[in-house]
Every structure is written in structure tokens, then in C-alpha cells.
Amino acid sequence: MSEITARNKPVISKKIDKFFIGLANAFRFVKRFFQEVWFPPYEFKEILRQCYEIGYRSLPLISLTGFIVGIVFTNQSRPSLAEFGAASWLPALISIAIIRAMGPLVTALIAAGKVGSSIGAEIGSMKVTEQIDAMEVSAINPFKYLVITRTIATTLMIPVLVMYTDFVALIGSFINVNQNELVSLSTFFVQVFEAVSFLDVFSSLIKSLVFGFTIGIVGCYKGYNSSNGTEGVGKAANASVVMSMFLIFIEELLALQIVNAIRYA
């Protein structure tokens, strides 16, 4: 699939033309993903390898961040609740905040930084060192081997990481609550599960799938279309992170509207 390129004479202005051409190429890239993902060869081994790289290797950073978010958020929320004599509502408040928004958002933003940049840089470097061309001339579809595998892996692993972050953040929160309010583990989690509905968990998972897909496809797109040598690789990595984060916030906003519409329907 050849890229759309700018005409010598711009239609509106060079910058605006470039924006729309970029948008069209990104759309074609996503369309190609959905066209090719269903058909063999299925690179299961590479998908598993990517799941390991994306999932397992992100665990230390995700654990630390989730834990700290749990502690800090609990600590910062306490004074406001205590003012109304509602400090006992802390587990409910924290669980709703973490499961509905903080967990998916924090995990996705960290993954966009860690995984998105790494995918952008890896594929970008393969592009500028002609490794992608080498696959094509060997009659191997690089899109299937590189893009589809990585995007599937991020789409599968981000929800798993989000569940893990939720759990670690709740543990962090519990430690803080336990120290201050002397609440036991079972009481804490009873309150947590009473506050959280099926819609909260389900919407959080669906949102995480979308975040994962975004991180994977953006990283791959930026890497796949990088140029200008090593400078291009750096730019691809950077653009992957910036674009992924931007899209994640937009998606979070949209998800909030959709879930609220369902909740209050």
C-alpha cells in the first residue's frame, strides 16, 4: 500500500495539506490493520514474545506507579472527606476513582511512554536500516510481522496491566487507610466491591482495550513512516508518545460521556 504524498502545488497551504495527508495515511494504516488481521499467516510466536516484552517487562514500573498513586490519592482525599466526617468512605471513593479512571489512565500513559516509544523507535530503526525492505524483498509481509503482532500484544496486555494497576493501587490505598483508620483488609475490600458496579469494571476493561490498541497502532504507524536516518527514529519515538497520550485523553473524555449516558439512561 503506497502512501499518499503531497502535491508539488499545495491545495490550501503546505501545513494544512500535510495535516490532512497525515490523517488520511493514518486512517489507511488503521484500515489496513483491520483488513489484514483476520488472515494468515498468524504470527503467534511473535505475538507471545511481544506480550512478554510489553506486559511482563512493564510490571516493575507499573507496580511502583500504581502503588504510589494509591497511597498519594488516599492521603490527598482524606482531609476533604474528614471535614464532613466521612473518612470511612475513603475505600469507596478510592475504588471508584481508581477503577473508573485513574487505573486505566495512569497505566495507559505509562505504557504510552514506555511501550509506545519503544515500538516507535524499534520499527523506525528497522525502517531506516532497510530491515523492513529486507522483509519485503524476501516475500515476507512486514506489516503482519511487525504491526499486527505488536498492536495485538498491546491491545491484549494493557487491560491486564490495568487490572494489575488497579489491584496494586488498592493495596497502596489499603496500607494508608489501615495505618490511619485502622480498617482491616477484609473490611476495606468489602467496601471497595460494594462501591464498584459491573459497568465500572466492564467500561474500564473496554477503555483499556482501546487505549492498548491506540498505543500499539500509533507506535507502529510513527515507526513505519519514519525517515531521515537516526534523527527520524528519535522523532518517531517522540511522536509515538505525544500522539498516543493525546489520543488517550480524547478517548478518556469520550468514554466518560458514553459511560455516563449508559449509567444515567
Binding site: E130, A134, V137, S138
Partner: protein, 253 residues
């Protein structure tokens, strides 16, 4: 004439390619015959690499036709093009070895993706045999980052040979190598022709490489072939000042 037509493995006519305002190829005609080593010479940016990238479908021509093994590449579907690509080996300038794979995996990758039902024993025999023939059997479990420039070139050539191509395309095979390694690579190019009976196009601006490996030379200047013939025909007593200056630069530098 009839025999000549049969033995032609590549036939290029009126090939044109531009990048925006930069007209890289301005109507190139070229034939490659069976078992022949043809060297395409030219300065950097003269369109040598573009020419072979057009041949394997990495780029699309603006005008002209490329016939490889009797098939016009512009009329092929992706599936047909991929089938044809299996008969063409492309050795990249920077080797293009897959960084995340060992040497063994680099060689196995095109083989296992394109030839199904091979046993582990058959794969091992092929990989080890090829590494033996390029003189690097001990590198089998090494990563590309651990190899020298010359070793990478050899492994890159071995990887293209694993599918037993009928045509080899070498993009600047001696670029960036020391003189001794250049000699090794030149010998390897000749050895590949003898062992695999391939027809080859060697892209280079290195006249020593051209002289050692080439049966015929084709000099690409400003998007067109200025001279095609044997080394002596093209360079000895060259009257064209552009070709003369190219020759003088290479041997006086």
C-alpha cells in the same frame, strides 16, 4: 537473436523515476543475461540503488517496463510479485540484518516463512551449509551487533542465498569496508555466481570491485547509461570526459 532473448533474465526499457523535481532515472534501458555479472557504476545519488529497488518492487517506476524472468513487474499482483521476489536475492548496502535475531534466526526467517514443511534437520543443514560457504560458521549464535561490517555483509549475502535465487542484486557490497575485506567480498560475489549460477547486478562506485566482479559495466550518469560494455571497452581510452573523470578519480584517489 532467439537464443539471446531466451537467455535474458532482466529486460529494462525506458525506465523513468522522479522524486518531486528530482529526475533520478531519465529513460534507462538495460539487459541482464543468464550467469552474467553486470556492474552498474555511478556517482552517489546517480540512481543506482533506485534502479534495483524498482526491480524488486520496493519503488514504483513513473514510466517504462521491467521484465524479470519474462514477467513484467508492473502488471503483477502482490502475490505474483512475492513469487517473483523469491527468485531475486537482494543484498543491502548496510546488510539489513534483523537486529533482534541471531545469525541463525536471520537465515531461518525467510526460509521458514516461504518454504513450509521443512524439518528442523533440513533447516539446520541449509543454514549451517550457507554459513560454511561464506566462511562464518562460528557466528551462528551471535547477534548482528556483535559482527564486524564485513561479517554482516557476508551474512546478508548468505541470507539472500538461502532461497536459492536466480538473480542477485548487490547494493554497494564493498561500501565502508577496508581493502582486505573488499577483496573477500569481491571473491564471494564471484563464488556465488559459480556455485549458484546466478545472474547478478552489482551496484557500486568502486572500480576495483567492478573490475574484479563484472563481466560488463554500465555507467549511470545523470539518470541514463552513458556506456555499457566490458571494463576495457568502457574505461580504457574512454573519450567521454564524465567517464574519464570517474575512472581517474577512482584510480588516482
Amino acid at each position: 537473436m532467439h537464443n539471446e532473448e531466451i537467455s535474458k533474465v532482466v529486460e529494462i526499457n525506458g525506465l523513468k523515476k522522479s522524486f518531486d523535481e528530482n529526475h533520478v532515472l531519465r529513460g534507462v534501458d538495460l539487459d541482464l543475461y543468464k550467469s552474467e555479472n553486470l556492474v552498474v557504476l555511478g556517482k552517489s545519488g546517480s540512481g543506482k540503488s533506485v534502479l534495483i529497488k524498482l526491480m524488486v518492487g520496493l519503488l514504483k517506476q513513473d514510466e517504462g517496463t521491467i521484465k524479470i524472468l519474462g514477467k513484467d513487474t508492473s502488471n503483477l499482483t502482490l502475490k505474483e510479485l512475492n513469487k517473483l521476489r523469491l527468485k531475486i536475492g537482494f543484498a543491502f548496502q548496510a546488510s539489513a540484518l534483523y537486529d533482534s535475531m541471531t545469525v541463525r534466526e536471520n537465515l531461518e526467517f525467510p526460509l521458514t516463512r516461504n518454504i513450509k514443511n521443512l524439518t528442523r534437520k533440513e533447516i539446520n543443514m541449509k543454514v549451517e551449509g550457507l554459513l560454511d560457504s561464506v566462511g562464518l560458521p562460528k557466528t551462528i549464535n551471535q547477534m548482528p551487533a556483535e559482527l564486524s561490517g564485513g561479517q554482516k555483509k557476508r551474512i546478508g549475502i548468505a541470507r539472500t542465498l538461502i532461497l536459492e535465487p536466480e538473480i542477485m542484486l548487490y547494493d554497494e557490497p564493498t561500501a565502508g569496508l577496508d581493502p582486505t575485506t573488499c577483496i573477500d567480498i569481491n571473491n564471494l560475489i564471484n563464488q556465488v555466481r559459480e556455485e549458484y549460477n546466478t545472474a547478478s547486478i552489482v551496484i557500486t562506485h568502486d572500480l576495483t570491485c567492478a573490475k574484479v566482479t563484472g563481466d560488463r559495466m554500465a555507467v549511470l550518469i545523470e539518470g541514463q547509461f552513458e556506456a555499457i560494455g566490458t571494463f576495457d571497452e568502457v574505461f580504457t581510452n574512454a573519450s567521454d570526459p564524465k567517464i574519464k573523470s570517474f575512472y581517474d578519480y577512482n584510480f588516482i584517489k
